[in-house]
Subunit: 78 residues, 6 copies
Protein backbone atom coordinates (compact mmCIF):
# COMPACT_ATOMS: atom_id res chain seq x y z
CA UNK A 1 0.00 0.00 0.00
CA UNK A 2 1.30 3.47 -0.76
CA UNK A 3 2.00 5.81 2.11
CA UNK A 4 -1.01 7.88 1.17
CA UNK A 5 -3.79 5.40 1.94
CA UNK A 6 -4.93 7.52 4.92
CA UNK A 7 -3.56 11.05 4.50
CA UNK A 8 -6.22 12.64 6.70
CA UNK A 9 -9.47 12.00 8.56
CA UNK A 10 -10.91 15.25 7.24
CA UNK A 11 -13.50 15.03 4.48
CA UNK A 12 -15.50 17.59 2.59
CA UNK A 13 -18.90 16.11 3.36
CA UNK A 14 -20.63 13.60 5.67
CA UNK A 15 -21.00 11.27 2.68
CA UNK A 16 -17.26 11.27 2.11
CA UNK A 17 -16.83 10.67 5.82
CA UNK A 18 -19.09 7.64 5.67
CA UNK A 19 -17.10 6.27 2.74
CA UNK A 20 -13.91 6.79 4.74
CA UNK A 21 -15.45 4.84 7.64
CA UNK A 22 -16.19 1.97 5.24
CA UNK A 23 -12.61 2.12 3.99
CA UNK A 24 -11.23 2.02 7.53
CA UNK A 25 -13.38 -0.98 8.44
CA UNK A 26 -12.04 -2.83 5.40
CA UNK A 27 -8.45 -1.82 6.20
CA UNK A 28 -8.88 -3.48 9.60
CA UNK A 29 -9.62 -6.71 7.76
CA UNK A 30 -6.90 -6.28 5.15
CA UNK A 31 -4.14 -5.82 7.66
CA UNK A 32 -5.23 -8.97 9.48
CA UNK A 33 -5.70 -11.04 6.32
CA UNK A 34 -3.38 -9.55 3.67
CA UNK A 35 -4.26 -12.12 1.02
CA UNK A 36 -6.76 -10.61 -1.41
CA UNK A 37 -7.45 -14.11 -2.64
CA UNK A 38 -8.51 -15.36 0.79
CA UNK A 39 -10.58 -12.26 1.45
CA UNK A 40 -12.37 -12.69 -1.86
CA UNK A 41 -13.07 -16.34 -1.11
CA UNK A 42 -14.63 -15.32 2.21
CA UNK A 43 -16.89 -12.73 0.64
CA UNK A 44 -19.99 -14.93 0.15
CA UNK A 45 -19.78 -16.11 3.75
CA UNK A 46 -20.44 -12.59 5.03
CA UNK A 47 -22.06 -10.66 2.18
CA UNK A 48 -24.90 -13.15 2.11
CA UNK A 49 -25.18 -13.58 5.87
CA UNK A 50 -27.39 -11.17 7.75
CA UNK A 51 -25.47 -11.29 11.03
CA UNK A 52 -22.15 -10.71 9.29
CA UNK A 53 -23.60 -7.72 7.46
CA UNK A 54 -24.90 -6.29 10.73
CA UNK A 55 -21.47 -6.84 12.31
CA UNK A 56 -19.83 -5.06 9.38
CA UNK A 57 -22.26 -2.18 9.71
CA UNK A 58 -21.32 -2.01 13.41
CA UNK A 59 -17.63 -1.58 12.62
CA UNK A 60 -18.46 1.13 10.11
CA UNK A 61 -20.52 2.87 12.80
CA UNK A 62 -17.58 2.92 15.20
CA UNK A 63 -15.25 4.36 12.56
CA UNK A 64 -17.91 6.87 11.51
CA UNK A 65 -17.97 8.14 15.12
CA UNK A 66 -14.27 8.81 14.85
CA UNK A 67 -14.43 10.44 11.43
CA UNK A 68 -17.48 12.55 12.33
CA UNK A 69 -15.79 13.77 15.50
CA UNK A 70 -12.61 14.58 13.58
CA UNK A 71 -14.66 16.74 11.24
CA UNK A 72 -16.59 18.57 13.93
CA UNK A 73 -19.65 16.74 12.64
CA UNK A 74 -19.55 18.88 9.49
CA UNK A 75 -21.69 21.41 11.36
CA UNK A 76 -20.78 24.25 9.01
CA UNK A 77 -21.59 22.46 5.78
CA UNK A 78 -25.34 23.09 5.92
CA UNK B 1 -27.39 6.81 -4.92
CA UNK B 2 -27.62 10.54 -5.41
CA UNK B 3 -25.00 12.76 -3.83
CA UNK B 4 -27.55 13.97 -1.30
CA UNK B 5 -28.14 10.79 0.68
CA UNK B 6 -26.36 12.28 3.72
CA UNK B 7 -26.27 16.06 3.36
CA UNK B 8 -25.92 16.69 7.08
CA UNK B 9 -25.98 15.05 10.50
CA UNK B 10 -28.10 17.86 11.87
CA UNK B 11 -31.77 17.18 12.47
CA UNK B 12 -34.63 19.24 13.79
CA UNK B 13 -35.63 16.83 16.55
CA UNK B 14 -34.36 13.78 18.46
CA UNK B 15 -36.92 11.67 16.58
CA UNK B 16 -35.46 12.73 13.27
CA UNK B 17 -32.02 11.99 14.68
CA UNK B 18 -33.09 8.49 15.60
CA UNK B 19 -34.44 7.93 12.10
CA UNK B 20 -31.13 9.15 10.70
CA UNK B 21 -29.31 6.63 12.93
CA UNK B 22 -31.50 3.87 11.50
CA UNK B 23 -30.72 5.07 7.98
CA UNK B 24 -26.98 5.07 8.69
CA UNK B 25 -27.10 1.55 10.09
CA UNK B 26 -28.84 0.38 6.92
CA UNK B 27 -26.36 2.24 4.70
CA UNK B 28 -23.58 0.28 6.36
CA UNK B 29 -25.25 -2.89 5.14
CA UNK B 30 -26.12 -1.53 1.69
CA UNK B 31 -22.56 -0.52 0.89
CA UNK B 32 -21.33 -4.00 1.87
CA UNK B 33 -24.10 -5.86 0.05
CA UNK B 34 -25.24 -3.60 -2.80
CA UNK B 35 -27.76 -6.09 -4.15
CA UNK B 36 -31.26 -5.14 -3.00
CA UNK B 37 -32.38 -8.61 -4.03
CA UNK B 38 -29.92 -10.34 -1.72
CA UNK B 39 -30.70 -7.98 1.15
CA UNK B 40 -34.41 -8.63 0.75
CA UNK B 41 -33.82 -12.39 0.72
CA UNK B 42 -31.90 -12.07 3.99
CA UNK B 43 -34.62 -10.08 5.69
CA UNK B 44 -36.48 -13.01 7.36
CA UNK B 45 -33.21 -14.35 8.75
CA UNK B 46 -32.74 -11.26 10.90
CA UNK B 47 -36.16 -9.62 11.25
CA UNK B 48 -37.52 -12.78 12.86
CA UNK B 49 -34.42 -13.56 14.90
CA UNK B 50 -34.15 -11.99 18.33
CA UNK B 51 -30.37 -11.84 18.45
CA UNK B 52 -30.15 -10.24 15.01
CA UNK B 53 -32.70 -7.63 16.04
CA UNK B 54 -30.72 -6.85 19.17
CA UNK B 55 -27.54 -6.57 17.08
CA UNK B 56 -29.31 -4.20 14.70
CA UNK B 57 -30.52 -2.12 17.62
CA UNK B 58 -26.92 -1.99 18.83
CA UNK B 59 -25.68 -0.51 15.54
CA UNK B 60 -28.48 2.06 15.64
CA UNK B 61 -27.40 2.97 19.19
CA UNK B 62 -23.83 3.64 18.06
CA UNK B 63 -24.98 5.84 15.20
CA UNK B 64 -27.45 7.61 17.50
CA UNK B 65 -24.52 8.53 19.75
CA UNK B 66 -22.86 10.20 16.79
CA UNK B 67 -25.99 11.99 15.61
CA UNK B 68 -26.97 13.11 19.10
CA UNK B 69 -23.50 14.49 19.72
CA UNK B 70 -23.54 16.29 16.37
CA UNK B 71 -26.76 17.98 17.40
CA UNK B 72 -25.60 19.00 20.85
CA UNK B 73 -28.17 16.51 22.18
CA UNK B 74 -30.96 18.86 21.02
CA UNK B 75 -30.69 20.55 24.41
CA UNK B 76 -32.43 23.70 23.21
CA UNK B 77 -35.46 22.02 21.70
CA UNK B 78 -37.33 21.55 24.98
CA UNK C 1 -46.37 6.25 16.51
CA UNK C 2 -47.20 9.78 17.50
CA UNK C 3 -44.65 12.49 16.84
CA UNK C 4 -43.94 12.78 20.55
CA UNK C 5 -42.30 9.42 21.18
CA UNK C 6 -38.91 11.10 21.73
CA UNK C 7 -39.45 14.78 22.51
CA UNK C 8 -36.15 15.20 24.33
CA UNK C 9 -33.14 13.33 25.71
CA UNK C 10 -33.31 15.36 28.91
CA UNK C 11 -34.66 13.65 32.01
CA UNK C 12 -35.16 14.75 35.57
CA UNK C 13 -33.15 11.96 37.16
CA UNK C 14 -30.63 9.21 36.31
CA UNK C 15 -33.41 6.66 36.83
CA UNK C 16 -35.54 8.33 34.21
CA UNK C 17 -32.49 8.45 31.96
CA UNK C 18 -31.98 4.72 32.35
CA UNK C 19 -35.63 4.09 31.47
CA UNK C 20 -35.19 6.27 28.38
CA UNK C 21 -32.15 4.17 27.40
CA UNK C 22 -34.30 1.04 27.68
CA UNK C 23 -36.97 2.68 25.55
CA UNK C 24 -34.43 3.64 22.88
CA UNK C 25 -33.01 0.12 22.75
CA UNK C 26 -36.54 -1.22 22.19
CA UNK C 27 -37.27 1.40 19.53
CA UNK C 28 -34.25 0.15 17.60
CA UNK C 29 -35.92 -3.24 17.48
CA UNK C 30 -39.40 -1.90 16.75
CA UNK C 31 -38.31 0.09 13.71
CA UNK C 32 -36.56 -3.00 12.31
CA UNK C 33 -39.40 -5.40 13.09
CA UNK C 34 -42.60 -3.32 13.14
CA UNK C 35 -44.88 -6.29 13.81
CA UNK C 36 -45.80 -6.42 17.49
CA UNK C 37 -46.99 -9.96 16.93
CA UNK C 38 -43.61 -11.15 15.65
CA UNK C 39 -41.76 -9.30 18.42
CA UNK C 40 -43.98 -10.90 21.04
CA UNK C 41 -43.39 -14.35 19.55
CA UNK C 42 -39.64 -13.79 19.78
CA UNK C 43 -39.76 -12.75 23.42
CA UNK C 44 -39.09 -16.18 24.98
CA UNK C 45 -36.09 -16.70 22.71
CA UNK C 46 -34.28 -13.75 24.28
CA UNK C 47 -35.90 -13.15 27.68
CA UNK C 48 -34.98 -16.66 28.75
CA UNK C 49 -31.57 -16.74 27.10
CA UNK C 50 -28.63 -15.42 29.09
CA UNK C 51 -26.57 -14.25 26.12
CA UNK C 52 -29.51 -12.40 24.60
CA UNK C 53 -30.16 -10.66 27.90
CA UNK C 54 -26.52 -9.63 28.13
CA UNK C 55 -26.67 -8.33 24.55
CA UNK C 56 -29.80 -6.36 25.38
CA UNK C 57 -28.11 -4.91 28.46
CA UNK C 58 -25.22 -3.90 26.20
CA UNK C 59 -27.49 -1.89 23.89
CA UNK C 60 -29.05 -0.20 26.90
CA UNK C 61 -25.55 0.69 28.12
CA UNK C 62 -24.70 2.39 24.82
CA UNK C 63 -27.90 4.42 24.86
CA UNK C 64 -27.38 5.27 28.53
CA UNK C 65 -24.00 6.77 27.58
CA UNK C 66 -25.79 9.06 25.16
CA UNK C 67 -28.57 10.02 27.56
CA UNK C 68 -26.19 10.56 30.48
CA UNK C 69 -23.97 12.77 28.36
CA UNK C 70 -26.99 14.74 27.13
CA UNK C 71 -27.92 15.40 30.74
CA UNK C 72 -24.46 16.45 31.89
CA UNK C 73 -24.47 13.25 33.96
CA UNK C 74 -27.09 14.82 36.25
CA UNK C 75 -24.18 16.25 38.25
CA UNK C 76 -26.34 18.86 39.95
CA UNK C 77 -29.03 16.50 41.24
CA UNK C 78 -27.09 15.32 44.30
CA UNK D 1 -37.86 -1.17 42.96
CA UNK D 2 -37.77 1.93 45.08
CA UNK D 3 -37.29 5.28 43.41
CA UNK D 4 -33.80 5.52 44.81
CA UNK D 5 -32.12 2.67 42.94
CA UNK D 6 -30.01 5.17 40.95
CA UNK D 7 -29.92 8.49 42.81
CA UNK D 8 -26.69 9.65 41.20
CA UNK D 9 -23.80 8.58 38.98
CA UNK D 10 -21.34 10.23 41.32
CA UNK D 11 -19.28 7.98 43.57
CA UNK D 12 -16.60 8.61 46.12
CA UNK D 13 -13.99 6.37 44.56
CA UNK D 14 -13.16 4.48 41.33
CA UNK D 15 -13.97 1.24 43.16
CA UNK D 16 -17.45 2.46 43.98
CA UNK D 17 -17.78 3.57 40.36
CA UNK D 18 -16.88 0.10 39.14
CA UNK D 19 -19.47 -1.42 41.45
CA UNK D 20 -22.05 1.03 40.09
CA UNK D 21 -21.14 -0.07 36.55
CA UNK D 22 -21.76 -3.68 37.58
CA UNK D 23 -25.10 -2.67 39.08
CA UNK D 24 -26.12 -0.84 35.90
CA UNK D 25 -25.22 -3.83 33.73
CA UNK D 26 -27.44 -6.02 35.92
CA UNK D 27 -30.27 -3.50 35.85
CA UNK D 28 -30.25 -3.75 32.07
CA UNK D 29 -30.95 -7.45 32.43
CA UNK D 30 -33.49 -7.03 35.24
CA UNK D 31 -35.66 -4.60 33.33
CA UNK D 32 -35.71 -6.98 30.34
CA UNK D 33 -36.33 -10.11 32.41
CA UNK D 34 -38.11 -8.99 35.59
CA UNK D 35 -38.50 -12.52 36.98
CA UNK D 36 -35.81 -13.17 39.60
CA UNK D 37 -36.64 -16.86 39.31
CA UNK D 38 -35.88 -16.97 35.59
CA UNK D 39 -32.71 -14.91 36.01
CA UNK D 40 -31.51 -17.25 38.75
CA UNK D 41 -32.21 -20.29 36.58
CA UNK D 42 -30.11 -18.74 33.80
CA UNK D 43 -27.16 -18.06 36.06
CA UNK D 44 -25.19 -21.28 35.40
CA UNK D 45 -25.56 -20.78 31.66
CA UNK D 46 -23.50 -17.61 31.79
CA UNK D 47 -21.48 -17.72 35.03
CA UNK D 48 -19.84 -20.93 33.89
CA UNK D 49 -19.44 -19.94 30.26
CA UNK D 50 -16.33 -18.03 29.27
CA UNK D 51 -17.88 -16.14 26.38
CA UNK D 52 -20.85 -15.04 28.47
CA UNK D 53 -18.52 -13.80 31.17
CA UNK D 54 -16.50 -11.84 28.62
CA UNK D 55 -19.73 -10.36 27.24
CA UNK D 56 -20.80 -9.37 30.75
CA UNK D 57 -17.42 -7.77 31.37
CA UNK D 58 -17.92 -5.84 28.13
CA UNK D 59 -21.22 -4.35 29.30
CA UNK D 60 -19.61 -3.39 32.60
CA UNK D 61 -16.81 -1.67 30.64
CA UNK D 62 -19.32 0.44 28.69
CA UNK D 63 -21.10 1.51 31.87
CA UNK D 64 -17.78 2.18 33.57
CA UNK D 65 -16.94 4.62 30.75
CA UNK D 66 -20.12 6.51 31.57
CA UNK D 67 -19.60 6.49 35.33
CA UNK D 68 -15.92 7.42 35.06
CA UNK D 69 -16.74 10.32 32.77
CA UNK D 70 -19.51 11.50 35.12
CA UNK D 71 -16.98 11.59 37.92
CA UNK D 72 -14.29 13.43 36.00
CA UNK D 73 -12.29 10.22 36.20
CA UNK D 74 -11.83 10.84 39.94
CA UNK D 75 -8.74 12.86 39.03
CA UNK D 76 -8.68 14.68 42.36
CA UNK D 77 -8.85 11.62 44.60
CA UNK D 78 -5.18 10.74 44.36
CA UNK E 1 -10.40 -7.92 47.81
CA UNK E 2 -8.80 -5.10 49.69
CA UNK E 3 -10.25 -1.62 49.36
CA UNK E 4 -7.26 -0.57 47.31
CA UNK E 5 -7.76 -2.69 44.20
CA UNK E 6 -8.57 0.43 42.13
CA UNK E 7 -7.22 3.49 43.94
CA UNK E 8 -6.99 5.61 40.79
CA UNK E 9 -7.30 5.52 37.01
CA UNK E 10 -4.15 7.61 36.68
CA UNK E 11 -0.99 5.84 35.58
CA UNK E 12 2.53 6.97 34.90
CA UNK E 13 2.75 5.64 31.36
CA UNK E 14 0.58 4.32 28.52
CA UNK E 15 1.97 0.84 29.24
CA UNK E 16 0.74 1.00 32.81
CA UNK E 17 -2.58 2.26 31.50
CA UNK E 18 -2.88 -0.73 29.20
CA UNK E 19 -2.15 -3.07 32.09
CA UNK E 20 -4.84 -1.33 34.12
CA UNK E 21 -7.29 -1.86 31.25
CA UNK E 22 -6.47 -5.57 31.31
CA UNK E 23 -7.01 -5.62 35.06
CA UNK E 24 -10.38 -3.91 34.73
CA UNK E 25 -11.52 -6.36 32.07
CA UNK E 26 -10.64 -9.24 34.39
CA UNK E 27 -12.38 -7.59 37.34
CA UNK E 28 -15.57 -7.52 35.30
CA UNK E 29 -15.33 -11.29 35.05
CA UNK E 30 -14.29 -11.80 38.67
CA UNK E 31 -17.24 -9.92 40.09
CA UNK E 32 -19.62 -11.97 37.94
CA UNK E 33 -17.93 -15.31 38.66
CA UNK E 34 -16.25 -14.95 42.06
CA UNK E 35 -14.99 -18.55 42.15
CA UNK E 36 -11.31 -18.65 41.17
CA UNK E 37 -11.70 -22.38 40.68
CA UNK E 38 -14.47 -22.00 38.10
CA UNK E 39 -12.61 -19.21 36.32
CA UNK E 40 -9.48 -21.32 36.14
CA UNK E 41 -11.44 -24.25 34.73
CA UNK E 42 -12.84 -21.99 32.01
CA UNK E 43 -9.45 -20.71 31.00
CA UNK E 44 -8.71 -23.22 28.20
CA UNK E 45 -12.13 -22.55 26.67
CA UNK E 46 -11.19 -18.95 25.92
CA UNK E 47 -7.38 -18.77 25.95
CA UNK E 48 -7.23 -21.32 23.16
CA UNK E 49 -10.20 -19.97 21.22
CA UNK E 50 -9.55 -17.21 18.70
CA UNK E 51 -12.98 -15.59 18.96
CA UNK E 52 -12.83 -15.50 22.75
CA UNK E 53 -9.41 -13.90 22.61
CA UNK E 54 -10.69 -11.27 20.18
CA UNK E 55 -13.66 -10.62 22.47
CA UNK E 56 -11.32 -10.24 25.43
CA UNK E 57 -9.16 -7.83 23.45
CA UNK E 58 -12.33 -5.86 22.70
CA UNK E 59 -13.16 -5.42 26.38
CA UNK E 60 -9.60 -4.32 27.05
CA UNK E 61 -9.95 -1.76 24.24
CA UNK E 62 -13.06 -0.26 25.82
CA UNK E 63 -11.38 0.04 29.21
CA UNK E 64 -8.25 1.45 27.59
CA UNK E 65 -10.41 4.23 26.11
CA UNK E 66 -11.51 5.11 29.62
CA UNK E 67 -8.05 4.94 31.15
CA UNK E 68 -6.43 6.86 28.28
CA UNK E 69 -9.04 9.60 28.54
CA UNK E 70 -8.58 9.78 32.32
CA UNK E 71 -4.88 10.35 31.76
CA UNK E 72 -5.26 12.99 29.07
CA UNK E 73 -3.78 10.43 26.69
CA UNK E 74 -0.40 10.88 28.43
CA UNK E 75 0.26 13.73 25.99
CA UNK E 76 2.99 15.23 28.17
CA UNK E 77 5.08 12.10 28.55
CA UNK E 78 6.79 12.34 25.19
CA UNK F 1 8.44 -7.29 26.42
CA UNK F 2 10.68 -4.31 26.84
CA UNK F 3 9.36 -1.31 28.69
CA UNK F 4 9.13 0.62 25.48
CA UNK F 5 6.40 -1.32 23.71
CA UNK F 6 3.97 1.60 24.12
CA UNK F 7 5.96 4.77 24.79
CA UNK F 8 3.23 7.10 23.56
CA UNK F 9 -0.14 7.24 21.80
CA UNK F 10 1.06 10.12 19.65
CA UNK F 11 1.90 9.37 16.03
CA UNK F 12 3.08 11.46 13.14
CA UNK F 13 0.29 10.51 10.76
CA UNK F 14 -3.15 8.87 10.68
CA UNK F 15 -1.56 5.85 8.99
CA UNK F 16 0.84 5.41 11.88
CA UNK F 17 -2.12 5.81 14.24
CA UNK F 18 -3.98 3.04 12.46
CA UNK F 19 -0.95 0.77 12.73
CA UNK F 20 -0.77 1.55 16.44
CA UNK F 21 -4.44 0.60 16.80
CA UNK F 22 -3.67 -2.74 15.15
CA UNK F 23 -0.74 -3.22 17.53
CA UNK F 24 -2.94 -2.47 20.55
CA UNK F 25 -5.61 -4.92 19.43
CA UNK F 26 -2.94 -7.63 19.14
CA UNK F 27 -1.47 -6.74 22.52
CA UNK F 28 -4.88 -7.38 24.06
CA UNK F 29 -4.66 -10.92 22.72
CA UNK F 30 -1.01 -11.42 23.63
CA UNK F 31 -1.48 -10.51 27.27
CA UNK F 32 -4.39 -12.96 27.52
CA UNK F 33 -2.63 -15.76 25.62
CA UNK F 34 1.13 -15.24 26.12
CA UNK F 35 2.11 -18.35 24.18
CA UNK F 36 3.21 -17.37 20.68
CA UNK F 37 2.88 -21.01 19.72
CA UNK F 38 -0.78 -21.19 20.72
CA UNK F 39 -1.56 -17.87 19.04
CA UNK F 40 0.10 -19.03 15.84
CA UNK F 41 -1.88 -22.28 15.91
CA UNK F 42 -5.10 -20.28 16.23
CA UNK F 43 -4.29 -18.04 13.30
CA UNK F 44 -6.09 -20.03 10.57
CA UNK F 45 -9.23 -20.20 12.71
CA UNK F 46 -9.66 -16.44 12.55
CA UNK F 47 -7.65 -15.23 9.54
CA UNK F 48 -9.76 -17.41 7.28
CA UNK F 49 -13.06 -16.79 9.03
CA UNK F 50 -15.08 -13.78 7.94
CA UNK F 51 -16.78 -13.17 11.29
CA UNK F 52 -13.48 -13.35 13.17
CA UNK F 53 -11.94 -10.85 10.75
CA UNK F 54 -14.89 -8.50 11.24
CA UNK F 55 -14.53 -8.86 15.01
CA UNK F 56 -10.83 -8.09 14.75
CA UNK F 57 -11.57 -5.04 12.63
CA UNK F 58 -14.03 -3.95 15.34
CA UNK F 59 -11.37 -4.05 18.05
CA UNK F 60 -9.02 -2.06 15.81
CA UNK F 61 -11.79 0.51 15.33
CA UNK F 62 -12.19 0.97 19.08
CA UNK F 63 -8.46 1.46 19.57
CA UNK F 64 -8.31 3.79 16.57
CA UNK F 65 -10.93 5.99 18.30
CA UNK F 66 -8.59 6.26 21.26
CA UNK F 67 -5.47 6.92 19.20
CA UNK F 68 -7.21 9.42 16.92
CA UNK F 69 -8.58 11.33 19.91
CA UNK F 70 -5.14 11.33 21.55
CA UNK F 71 -3.72 12.93 18.42
CA UNK F 72 -6.40 15.57 18.05
CA UNK F 73 -7.45 13.70 14.90
CA UNK F 74 -4.27 14.89 13.17
CA UNK F 75 -6.24 17.99 12.14
CA UNK F 76 -3.12 20.01 11.42
CA UNK F 77 -1.47 17.51 9.09
CA UNK F 78 -3.45 18.49 5.99
Amino acid sequence: MSETWLPTLLTETPEDGFQLAIKLSRLGVKFTQPSAEVREALRPSYAENADSLIATSHVIAVHFQTVASANGYWRHDA
